[in-house]
């Protein structure tokens, strides 16, 4: 039995000299005669000669385990009814990998039965390849033996995710994918398969007029321990967007599908489990900003528009209070009635305020009180606005 990882290319160590050096062109001639060098470019280290894998190597989840199974008759007798069976025992199951289960009628001395098995590895941990051979000798004796080959399946990738909730119901997913193998890994595909509620836009290419260029530049591969960040933007589909205001709790976003290749196209593929996110808890009443100027003049009033959404299951009767802070001064009457608000409905509200302090100021101090339940919701740090003195702005 031999594991068939991809062969590797033979590398040679170029030692050159110049004609005037002592060995003359001896070294160069030696390199030319060496069959493993590239003819005409002997100094090129990477040759064309394929060499078979010399050890078992590592195998990673999602890769294909290939192995050559050869049963060779070392004796000088013909044996009959040979049955070769290859099973893979994992920590949870046992798989039969033999291509055929039919017995071979007879095997002459110095002949062999060959089989190449493939198995896509789907579990981490200890795997044992069990090869069982049964046969009948010339004397009619039934014989069988088994061999065990144990190997560990390791994890190739480490994936970390992070969600960012935008004001506009969009969700940004940042996925960090780390190559935790010891070899470079070419990421052929990293895509997000969104759940039914979302449409996804991949933000990993920079679109130019001619073609879209990867944000990773020419570096198409991941070195060992390198981490790459992928960014995706998810928008709720129209039909769900309507109810987006009430999307609550854990929602399924989708899953990442990762395909990579290593040495000579050895392929691996993994999918993550469903990524879930906790929708931002808006509580019962959600207040979001619709419009706000980014820069305002000192001590000059400016307008903002808020959207108030009732996220609860009941009708609310809201009263708006506006509390001044050190820098933010609200204009207009505090404690005004906003009227009844049905569940899942929203209203828009224009407010005027001014700032008495320069610099980046935080808009704070809005209080909504539900008169039915006598519950008050506080809204601070709703947004930030840059306050400049009026002279600067005019000039």
């Amino acid at each position: 039995v031999m594991r068939l990882t991809k062969p590797t290319l033979f590398t040679n160590i170029p030692v050159t000299c110049e004609e005037r050096d002592l060995p003359g062109n001896l070294f160069n001639q030696l390199m030319k005669d060496d069959p493993s060098t590239v003819k005409g470019a002997e100094t090129l280290m990477l040759g064309e000669m394929l060499t078979l894998p010399q050890n078992f190597g590592n195998i990673f989840l999602g890769e294909t385990f290939s192995s050559y199974i050869s049963v060779h008759n070392d004796s000088n007798q013909v044996v009959k009814d040979i049955l070769v069976k290859a099973d893979l025992q994992t920590s949870s199951q046992r798989l039969n990998l033999s291509a055929s289960s039919a017995a071979v009628a007879e095997l002459k001395p110095d002949c062999c039965i060959d089989d190449v098995i493939h198995h896509e590895v789907k579990e981490i941990g200890t795997h044992i390849l069990v090869c069982a051979v049964s046969y009948t000798t010339q004397t009619g004796e039934k014989m069988y033996f088994r061999k065990f080959f144990k190997f560990q399946v390791l994890k190739p990738l480490d994936v970390k995710t992070k969600f960012y909730n935008a004001e506009t119901d969009e969700v940004f997913l940042e996925a960090q994918i780390q190559n935790i193998t010891t070899s470079p890994m070419f990421m052929e595909k990293v895509s997000l398969e969104p759940s039914m509620m979302y449409n996804v836009a991949e933000l990993n290419t920079v679109d130019t007029a001619v073609e879209s260029e990867s944000t990773f530049g020419a570096r198409s591969y991941l070195q060992p321990m390198d981490t790459r960040q992928y960014l995706y933007c998810l928008k709720p589909k129209q039909e769900f967007a309507e109810k987006a205001g009430v999307i609550k709790g854990v929602t399924v976003i989708g899953k990442l599908d990762i395909v990579w290749k290593t040495n000579l196209g050895e392929r691996g593929r993994l999918q993550t489990s469903q990524l879930q996110r906790m929708a931002p808890g808006y509580g019962d009443v959600r207040l979001s900003l619709e419009t706000i100027p980014d820069t305002v003049n000192l001590e000059e009033p400016f307008d903002i528009t808020c959207k108030i959404t009732n996220c609860s299951e009941r009708t609310m009767d809201l009263v708006l209070e506006m509390c001044n802070t050190n820098s933010i001064h609200w204009c207009g009457v505090s404690g005004r009635q906003l009227g009844k608000l049905q569940p899942s409905s929203s209203l828009h509200l224009a407010l005027t305020l001014l700032s008495s302090v320069q610099g980046l100021q935080s808009v704070s101090g809005l209080r909504l009180t539900d008169t039915f339940l006598k519950r008050t919701y506080e809204y601070d740090d709703i947004a930030q606005v840059c306050v400049v003195s009026s002279e600067i702005k005019q000039s």
């Binding site: 068939l4 033979f10 994890k155």
Partner: protein
């Protein structure tokens, strides 16, 4: 996978299934098994795993700390438990009592304990004790025992743990676990890996520190990785003065021939012929003591030409050298040989200047200037600034092939093995070349050592003042180059050490104005600089190699710039004819290209593929005629990374420029690239077809032959593959007894039969007939 599907309905069913299967298995294979002997399974990877486990805990800890910080995903905890799914099963059994612990805590511990077990104790709780002999050859006996126990232990695992697992789990856990534990239920062809964004998963990371037994593709030569430590193995008597030295010096006749060969052999300049005396005169004591060891002064060829500066080089001792008239006549003979000695001399110096040009560092330049301005007494050179090389070990001779023959084929066969050694050839450059071309590099290294000893730079002479000549440096170059060729990198490094950065003043001709009147530049051959720069990368320090190559690149570029500005190479105002300037530019461009080549190779070794590809691109500028080969090479780099598409692009570009090669060659290259592309696409059948196609055009193509055989193996045709390789080796052993071919062949022998030894020994016999002492016997895997 239908069986699998059936199994995955629930954990308990699953395990019962296994139980049944196991019992069936037991019934089927209950009798004693037959031991087929050696086990071909290549599990060195596993072996290294256990070796590595020493630092395991440290690494584990590091990891723990690191990734605790990185956990800000909202769905940490659930994911994490999900991920542990299958591993949990194994360990839950042991930890079943710890249900009270919070899930995460448990996870963490389980991971740790599981990890340490698999690594250190090979998981006794896991699937049987097979783990303990997870070495290259599994002992059949213990396996048998293990097998009998396996059902018991193995079954325990799922039966007990599955329910436990569910009990412990938080609701989220349950939601997730389906995806890990029964991937097949959704008829999902792809394995599912859960996302883990929490600290705990870090504990699984140490696995990735396991050395990837396979990986060093760049360093893949079997001999290569392991040979680094081999010097000791090959020359146990590394540091012993050669006993043959005295004999060597005692033989007067021999020495005379040596001297003559020595001094008029390869060097092109007539001035050089007179150069050697400086070696002896500047270190008279050493030389004389050396000659005393042998016969006496007669063997010590000395010359009337005075070394300019004994004060600078060595102790200002009196010059007590007998003067032999012979060299003079030789010099005359040389001069008489050419029609116009002056013209020749001029021409030579032109060549010399071009070849030897080098730009010294500021400090060195100052020393050289003061030497040139004859301020003897003012010139005081620090001992550290002088180059004082010496052999660091002696008698590297040995013939690994013969040793193996003694071991496996018996004394009689071994006697038949006849290779040249340092004694059996002329003690001169001629003999040296003979040894090199007959691939007796070990003997050649020895001979270099002897010749260097004649220069007063022999064994234990390191650290003693020496004086250098073109010849001595060339000898050093050959010796060091051969050491590198033999993969004896550490030895080469040791002997390179006294040379520093090859910029010491005494390595410049200007330092010896009397020996080399008017000659300028460095004695160090350019190739030796390359060798010096490349060496660290083979010793695991590629950064140092890059640094050295960069400074070489700067000097080469500076020289080219000087030439373009109408100056001489070193920036001085010398008149150079247009023709000579052209030749010089050409030389230095190709040298610069050579430096770029080394850089690219070094970057490739560092696996910095992006930079390596860039570097190879710039090599194309210097060696445009190699463009097809280089582009193909870049394509292969991309194939190695796994980037098949880009590789394909490069291969297409090759087809566009392949007209640079002659018809046959370009045809072969195109076919070869196509074959490689198919390899990358896992299509071994097509790859084999293309390799065979090449053989149709060029039946002696070793690469295609070998690669076609490799493809056959992957297609499950072991016998055919063997036939092809064997046929190839028999057909032209001179060419095909190559390390890589033999390596493949022995690997297949091992796979074919447990009685591979005989066949390997047959290969050894074939090798013994054809190969010199530099043959790397590791590829025969006879050890």
């Amino acid at each position: 996978s239908s069986a699998k599907d059936a199994k995955s309905t629930s954990g308990e069913d699953d395990s019962r299934d296994i139980v049944q299967q196991k019992t069936q298995e037991e019934i089927l294979f209950h009798e004693e098994t037959i031991d087929l002997g050696g086990d071909e399974f290549e599990s060195e990877g596993n072996e290294t795993v256990s070796e590595d486990s020493n630092n395991f805990v440290d690494k584990l800890n590091e990891q723990m700390m690191e990734s605790v910080i990185i956990s800000d995903s909202p769905n940490n905890s659930e994911d994490d438990t999900g991920e542990l799914g299958c591993l949990q099963e194994i360990v839950d059994q042991m930890e079943a009592k710890d249900n009270q612990k919070t899930q995460t805590e448990v996870d963490k511990e389980e991971f740790l304990s599981n990890e340490s077990e698999t690594e250190h104790e090979e998981t006794p709780k896991d699937i049987s004790e097979i783990g303990t002999d997870d070495q290259a050859s599994l002992k059949e006996d213990s396996i048998q025992e293990a097998v009998k126990e396996e059902p018991k232990l193995g079954n325990n695992v799922p039966v007990e743990t599955k329910p436990n697992n569910v009990d412990e789990s938080t609701p989220e856990d349950q939601m997730l676990s389906p995806s890990t534990t029964k991937p097949s239920s959704e008829a999902e062809p792809i394995p599912v890996c859960t996302i883990f964004s929490q600290a705990n998963n870090a504990s699984s990371q140490p696995q990735l520190f396991l050395p990837d037994g396979f990986e060093p593709q760049m360093v893949k030569s079997p001999s290569f990785s392991s040979m680094i430590e081999t010097p000791v193995k090959y020359n146990p008597q590394v540091v012993q003065p050669s006993p043959s030295l005295s004999k060597f010096f005692g033989d007067t006749v021999n020495t005379n021939t040596l001297a003559s060969d020595f001094f008029d052999s390869f060097t092109t300049s007539n001035f050089i012929s007179v150069s050697n005396p400086s070696a002896s005169s500047s270190v008279p004591e050493q030389m004389s003591s050396l000659s005393n060891g042998g016969d006496g002064s007669s063997s010590n060829p000395t010359f009337p030409v005075q070394n300019g500066r004994p004060e600078a080089g060595g102790p200002p001792s009196s010059i007590e050298i007998t003067q032999s008239p012979k060299p003079f006549s030789q010099i005359q003979a040389v001069f008489a040989g050419s029609d116009d000695p002056f013209a020749t001399a001029l021409n030579m110096s032109e060549l010399d200047r071009r070849n030897d040009a080098w730009i010294p560092s500021e400090e060195t330049r100052n020393v050289l200037i003061s030497v040139a301005t004859q301020q003897y007494s003012a010139v005081f050179i620090d001992k550290e600034n002088l180059t004082m090389p010496g052999l660091k070990f002696d008698n590297i001779q040995g013939d690994a092939v013969k040793d193996l023959m003694l071991r496996f084929l018996g004394e009689q066969a071994a006697v038949k093995r006849q290779v040249l050694n340092a004694n059996s050839v002329e003690q001169s450059f001629v003999g040296l070349k003979q040894l090199i071309s007959s691939k007796n590099w070990r003997a050649a290294v020895d001979l270099c050592g002897r010749l260097l000893t004649a220069h007063g730079q022999g064994y234990k002479k390191s650290g003693l003042p020496a004086s250098h000549t073109t010849d001595s440096l060339q000898l050093w170059f050959v010796r060091l180059a051969l050491l590198v060729k033999l993969d004896l990198f550490q030895n080469a490094e040791m002997e390179f050490e006294p040379f520093g950065n090859l910029d010491q003043p005494d390595l410049y001709y200007e330092y010896y104005p009397n020996v080399y009147p008017g000659r300028k530049g460095s004695m160090v051959p350019f190739s030796m600089r390359i060798l010096h720069a490349e060496l660290p990368q083979y010793l695991g320090n590629p950064q140092e190699s890059l640094d050295r190559l960069h400074s070489m690149k700067i000097i080469c570029a500076k020289i080219l710039e000087n030439l373009e500005q109408g100056l001489a190479e070193d920036g001085s105002m010398t008149n150079i004819t247009q023709e000579n300037r052209q030749a010089s530019v050409q030389l230095w461009r190709s040298r610069l290209g050579r430096v770029m080549y080394s850089m690219a190779n070094c970057l490739l070794m560092m696996k910095d593929y992006v930079l390596a590809v860039d570097a190879y691109h710039s090599v194309i500028k210097y060696y445009p005629q190699q463009e097809p080969q280089l582009l193909s090479g870049i394509g292969r780099i991309f194939l190695q990374i796994g980037d098949i598409k880009t590789a394909e692009k490069y291969f297409q570009n090759v087809e566009k420029v392949s007209h640079k090669l002659d018809g046959l060659q370009s045809q072969i290259m195109v076919l070869m690239n196509r074959a490689f592309l198919h390899l990358g696409q896992n299509n071994f059948a097509e790859a084999h077809r293309f390799f065979t196609e090449i053989l149709r055009i060029d039946s002696s193509n070793a690469v295609a032959n070998n690669n076609a055989a490799v493809c056959l193996l992957y297609l499950g045709k072991l016998k055919d593959s063997l036939r092809q390789l064997e046929g190839m080796v028999q057909q032209d052993p001179q060419h095909y007894l190559h390390e890589s071919v033999l390596f493949n062949l022995t690997t297949m022998y091992e796979l074919e039969s447990s009685r591979s030894m005989q066949k390997k020994q047959a290969l050894l016999e074939a090798v013994a007939i054809k190969e010199g002492d530099s043959f790397n016997t590791q590829c025969l895997k006879l050890g």
